[in-house]
Every structure is written in structure tokens, then in C-alpha cells.
Subunit: 228 residues, 4 copies
DNA sequence: TATGAATGAGCTTTCATTCAT
DNA sequence: TATGAATGAAAGCTCATTCAT
């Protein structure tokens, strides 16, 4: 044969899943991990938009094409990176027994701050991607919704117990206070607004307590903790 | 995720300034205005990243090349569009005399909501651009800073007058409450979170007042209004 | 702005038509014509599969990107080249008055041969593309169908006039005889089977006449000519 | 046209022959057979151009790399598949004694049809490959030549016996009638042109007989059968 | 000023083939 | 033999920007 002749591919598109994690040989798993780590580094350095697949591959020390052995495209690996990061937000927090309401709320806020801080620049990148990618936006909103729902339930319980201002709407209150914490932390940790961590978090917690007119020193025994 | 996403590294971009507004012939002024209007329409339709210079020119009914008679690039015209939009946030609000504190704060929150709503999709786009463009980020933060500083001064006055909780830090409180309002409005108006406007804004204002432990029915006569 | 940022395009796909021929400036028309000519040359030299857009642009003496000002992709320009070639097959042939049946049929066959020959290597390329491209296959079959239908009508008339074998099915006969001519010409002109043109075409015409048991010397006055 | 189409220029391809069939272990023979079967399935499903070596290996249930233990490349295995298919066309047909000429010719045409139909989609793929691969084109022409030569000899005999029109050239007639049958069957079976098999084949045979002006009911005892 | 054709850097993705295990 | 990870050559296509008219 004179000429070997290549493809007229029909749109491969969505399907064609990459080999699942548990079908990988140790070597493959290592490479995939290297790519994920490299991707995170590159995203953090360049942001999502400026990150190039080439850079990620190079950073991981593999050939350009190897990237496509494990991921479909930049979006795909980004989602994978986010997934590795996202989980910690969902772990239920173990709560000490004798906390006051202020302490419980403060604890939750601190924990949110620390988790956010641990994610470093990736949270900002996720925020960026969420402004133009529907899937990431959904993911972002799901995380948020869970927090808000938890807070909402707590507010209702406090209202029922006569501890919280009965005139505020629990849903909107939970949403607003969640936004307050979430956005403040974003300003401090992602946009780098200078701040004194202790004062900042203490103020946040006080405002939280005040906003619902909770008695700060009342025991928080009502089980579930009001995390953002 | 459907489409692939690209970006470009910073370009040298020699600063050849385009002809200033007052040096334009009437015809030129008309063309420039058409481009600005077209740009806003295209940005609102496609977002910043998907907007193409070609589309803007086409929408404005001028040739592709004409764009460059008036603007350096997409960034340039985007900044110009934002400038035409940004101003309204800064107009001092005329305040009625006999307002209560709740009314004053609620008025400010409503005004912020309305202004945001009037900007329509552009606020979301600006938020998007602010995630990767330093200049736009600065602009965004300047707007914010002005709001926060005004609130901060008001809080201090209220604390001095014995009306507000003296234990909260005025700066962080202003920042946090500003974030609360700003982010809530973003969720409602940009991300389209379903909400009942009246309840939502009322809750926001109540939380604001509560958070500082202000007496809601006290006259707001302390001059400057605490907007956002 | 630090980085100018490019697109996250949504699948542009089918639409986005290129500027129509009559909206082109003379310069544009010249370039487009150059690309078409270059494309034909490249296709004839390399076949469709091996032809590269780059080669076409280079051959036309324009930059790579210029190609995309006028055509969507290789398929698009191929279709355009074929369209410029296809038309001649459809021109109705002017027929002399006193022809015999054999002469009329022979004339049609010769004309088919010549038209085919004039298209040169492009007919082979079209045959190639028709094996994997549905649109081109349709085009190919449309051309064929028109020939066959014309022949079929002629055969019916001849049968009605008692000139042709009444036992053959007019449709299948037209199709089969069309295939005979079409494929023979393909073998000779595209695959380069050595042949003596005169004997070859004469044999073809004799077989045609015999196959229908037509009296070769009978006047062909039954108006429409049985082309392929 | 949906997808873009690429091709590759001829590769040097050093001729390291793969292990011959009789040097294979039983296990190896089984793997090779699996690959051949898989290749045929994939070619029939996707066509030659869209078939990927990966798909063939996967379909055969072996690792990608294993393919290269048995075949050089896609061309190589395609040729092998075709070889397994090609043979049946050459088997001499056993002919009954008292046939008429029409019956003999009809029988041959039916047999060609059936053989073609049995090859299913592979004949179309072979036609496709023959448009760009010289070796496959040769193979295709060899098959054809044998048929034509056989017909040519038959026609000569019939002419010598005064049974066939002496004015048609035996070589071109054989070629043209072969093309008629071959192409008709291609249209029906590969391109899927709707047809009534009995009428279609009967018409084909009648035209064959008529074209040579053979007496249809004359005994076909002249030994060798005019196939195709 | 306005035009729109021309440019080409830049990034993406595919898949045949090799090779260490 | 079998495996499947790694490779990298090839093309494709987009669109911001320039520039001759």
C-alpha cells in the first residue's frame, strides 16, 4: 500500500470515557496523579483561562499526548482537580459538648475559613470558572445549598426554642449570612484583602449571632451545628 | 463542559492612545457610540469571553476594522462600557427627613438592589472579568471600598452615639455586611436564585440592623446614610 | 488589563455562513477563485484524503488563515470545486435532425465520455469522496438518477412505438445500461484502463442498441434523446 | 459534511515481516484469527477510514499493542481480511447439462449477485479502499480481469459458432457487460438502491443476451460458462 | 474615517506505533 | 506472547490585529 490513510472521525464528543481509576496499572495511576498535581499547580499559577494543556503535561513530565490518555480536555481535568478539593467541605464537623452558641458558630466560621485557606488559590479559580461554566456553577451552588440548608434548619430550631429573632425569614437569613461569610472569606483569601484573622472572624461570628439576636452564651446543645 | 477554552498571555501592547472623545467629528462620535452600545449588547448576550470583536462591529453595523479606529481591543471597549454603567452607584442618595434607622438602611439596600438590577447582566460579566483582569478587579474593589468606607463611618457614629454594639469592629463589620448585601444581590440577580424581592430585602435589612444591635425605630437623623 | 483573554466558543458548527460570492470585493473574489483553482490542483495531485488545507492555501499563495475567510473546511471547498464541475453534465444536448437511433445513442455516449474526460482526475476524486461522504454520495446519485430517468422515458417511448424489446423492464434497463456506460468510462478515464476510444465507444453504443433490440438505422425522431 | 478528514503521506515502512501463519503457536493462531474477525467487523461498521487499530484490538479482546504482534498496520490487516473474502469469486461454478444460453448467463449473474451479497458491506469498503490504495486497486482489477477474460473467450466462441453478433468487439463487449453487472450489483447491494431482485437480475440477463444478439433458448453446451 | 481582506500565532486533539515490563 | 502506557508528528481552526485602498 502506498499511503496509509487516516480517519474521518464522526464527532466522538461526550462518550468515549477514559479508563477508570481502578483499571489503571500502578504506573498509569502514578502518571494520572502526576497530571492532576501538575494541573493544580498550573491552574493556581496561571488561572484556568491561561492554563494550557501543554503546560500541564510538561509540568507533569510527560508527553503532550499522554494528557489525553487520562483526560478529555482542560475542562475535564479541572473538574477532576476540583473534585479532589471539594470533598473536605462536606465532612461533618465533630462538635465538643459544652459549647455556647457563639462558640459553635465561631467554630463553624473558623472551620470554613481554614478549609477555604487550605484550598488556596484553587477556590478563586473555581469562582472564575463558575462565571462561565455551567457545570462548575452547578457544583458551586450545590456546595452552597447544602450549607444554607443546614443553617436554615438550625435557625428554625432556634426560633422554635425562642432563642432567635422570630421575625426574620429563616431561608433568606441563612442565605444572607452564608453569603456574608462566604464572600468575606473570598475577599480575604482570594482577593488578598489585608485582614487580621482573629478580629475578622470574631466580628463575623458576632454579627452572625447578633443578626439572629441569639444569646451568645446560651449552650449550643441543640445538636446540629450551624455551619455557614 | 462543551467548548474548549483558551486564553492568551499578556501582549506588549504599545500605548498608542486612540483619539479622545472631544476630538471626534460628529460622525465619528456616532460610530463610537454605536460600538459602545453594540459592545454592551454583545457582552450581555455572550459574556466577555465569548464576545468577539467581529460580533461587536457587526452588531454596530460597521466594518470589522473600524473597531480599531476607536478602541485598542476588547478589553479597552469593555472598560469603556463598564465606565458608562458604573457611575450610578456613586450618586449620593437624597434622603427624606423623618426616616427611622431601619428605613434608612432598608432604603439603601433597596437602592443597591435596583441599581444592580438596572445594570442587568453586565454586573455578572463584570464579576467574570474581575476574576482574571487586574484592572477590572481594581475597579470592582474601588466601588466596594467606597461603600464600605461610608458604612464604616456610619457604624462608628452609631457606636459613638451609643446606638450600635460597641464590641464589633466597625471596619470588618462594614465589610462583612457589605459582602452580605452584595453577594445576596448577586445570587438573586445574576445567578438567578429564585427569591421574593420584598421578603428578601426586608430580611437583609433586619439582619443588618440586628447585627449591629441598632434600635430599628430610632430616627436616622445622624446625617450620612449608611449605604451598603 | 494584564492579559487579553480569548474565547470559550460554543460549538459554532453548521451555521456561520461565509460571505456570499456577490458580497465580495474584486480582491476577495480573486482570492476565492485562486483558492478554488489551487484546491482543484491539490485534489487532483494528492486526492482528497491527502490534500491538506495548508497545501491549498500555499498553492494559492495566501496565508493559512485566509482559507478560512472563504471556506469552512476541506469538505466545503471540495464541494465548491465539484459544483463548478458538475454543471456541464446537465446541459441538454442540441440534437441534429436526421439522426438514426444508433447515431443518437452514440452521440450521447460520446458526449458523456468527453464531459467525463474534461473533468479529468476530479471525477475519480469525487468517486473516492462519494465512498465516505454522504453529501457527495447524494450528489453523485442525483446526477445518475437524472440520466437514468431520461433513458427510462426514452425506452418506454421506444417500446410503445414497437421499436424496443417489450420484455425488458424500462427502469432496470435504463439503470443497467447507465451503469455500463458510467463504469466503463470510469475504468478507462479514471483507472486508466488502456483502450481505443473509437472502438470502445462504438462497442458501447452497439451493445446499447442491441440490448434493447432497437433497429439501429431507424430515425431517432422520437424527440428526446436517450442520453445515458 | 460533518467531520474533517485527514490522511497521511506514505511512510517508509521497513519490511519486517510478521511471523508466518505456520510458525504460530495455537494460542497465537487464535489471537490472530480473533483480530481478523474483529477487523472485518470494525471495517464493516466504520468503513476503512474510520476504523482504528484500537477498536480492532478492543473488539478482539486483546491489548492494543498485541495487534502489532501480528500485523504491520491497518493496511496490512485489511489486505488480510480481503484475502479471506476474495477467494469465493474464483471458484469455478459447477454447471448443469441442459441449460439454455439465457439460463447459463442468468445463472452466472445470480451467482455474482449472491457472492457479492454474501460479502456484505466488505465489498463497499474494498471499493472505497481501492480509490486510494494502489495495492487494493490492483487486487480489484485482477479479480475483474479474470472475469472479463472468461467472458471474452465465451463471446469469441459464440461469435465463431455464429451465435453472437460478429460486429461487436469481444474484448470491449466483455468489459462493458462486466461493468454493467458489477456496477448494478454495487448500486443495489452497497449503495442500497431499492430493487426487486428477480426483476432486476432477469433484466440484467436479458440485456446481456440481447446485447450480443444471442438466441436465448439455444443450448449452452459450448463448455465453459460465461460467468459475469 | 471606513472598509474588509489578509495574516499567522497559538492551542487543540487524534491515533499509529513503540517499548519496557 | 501479551500488555497498555507513552510518544509525538500532524493538521485543524480561530480570531485579534494590521493595512492597503
Amino acid at each position: 500500500m502506498t499511503a496509509s490513510t487516516r480517519a474521518r472521525r464522526a464527532a466522538p464528543s461526550v462518550d468515549v470515557p477514559k479508563r477508570a481509576d481502578d483499571e489503571l496499572t500502578p504506573r498509569g495511576a502514578r502518571t494520572k496523579a502526576a497530571l492532576l498535581a501538575a494541573a493544580r499547580a498550573v491552574f493556581e499559577r496561571d488561572g484556568f483561562l491561561n492554563a494550557r494543556v501543554t503546560d500541564i503535561a510538561e509540568q507533569a513530565g510527560v508527553a503532550h499526548g499522554t494528557f489525553y490518555t487520562y483526560f478529555h480536555d482542560k475542562d475535564d481535568i479541572f473538574a477532576a482537580v476540583v473534585r479532589t478539593i471539594d470533598d473536605d467541605f462536606h465532612e461533618p464537623a465533630p462538635r465538643p459538648a459544652g459549647e455556647t452558641l457563639y462558640e459553635a458558630i465561631h467554630h463553624a466560621n473558623c472551620r470554613y475559613y481554614e478549609t477555604y485557606a487550605g484550598r488556596g488559590r484553587m477556590m478563586g479559580i473555581l469562582e472564575q470558572v463558575a462565571t462561565f461554566d455551567d457545570d462548575m456553577r452547578s457544583l458551586r451552588r450545590d456546595v452552597r445549598r447544602r450549607f444554607v440548608e443546614r443553617s436554615e434548619r438550625a435557625i428554625r430550631r432556634w426560633q422554635d426554642a425562642g432563642l432567635a429573632d422570630p421575625t426574620v425569614d429563616p431561608h433568606y437569613a441563612a442565605s444572607a449570612l452564608g453569603s456574608m461569610v462566604d464572600r468575606s472569606v473570598y475577599l480575604w483569601l482570594v482577593l488578598g484583602e489585608p485582614h487580621d484573622k482573629d478580629i475578622a472572624l470574631d466580628t463575623l461570628s458576632r454579627l452572625w449571632v447578633n443578626a439572629l439576636q441569639l444569646p451568645p452564651d446560651h449552650p449550643a446543645r441543640l445538636t446540629e451545628s450551624p455551619r455557614l
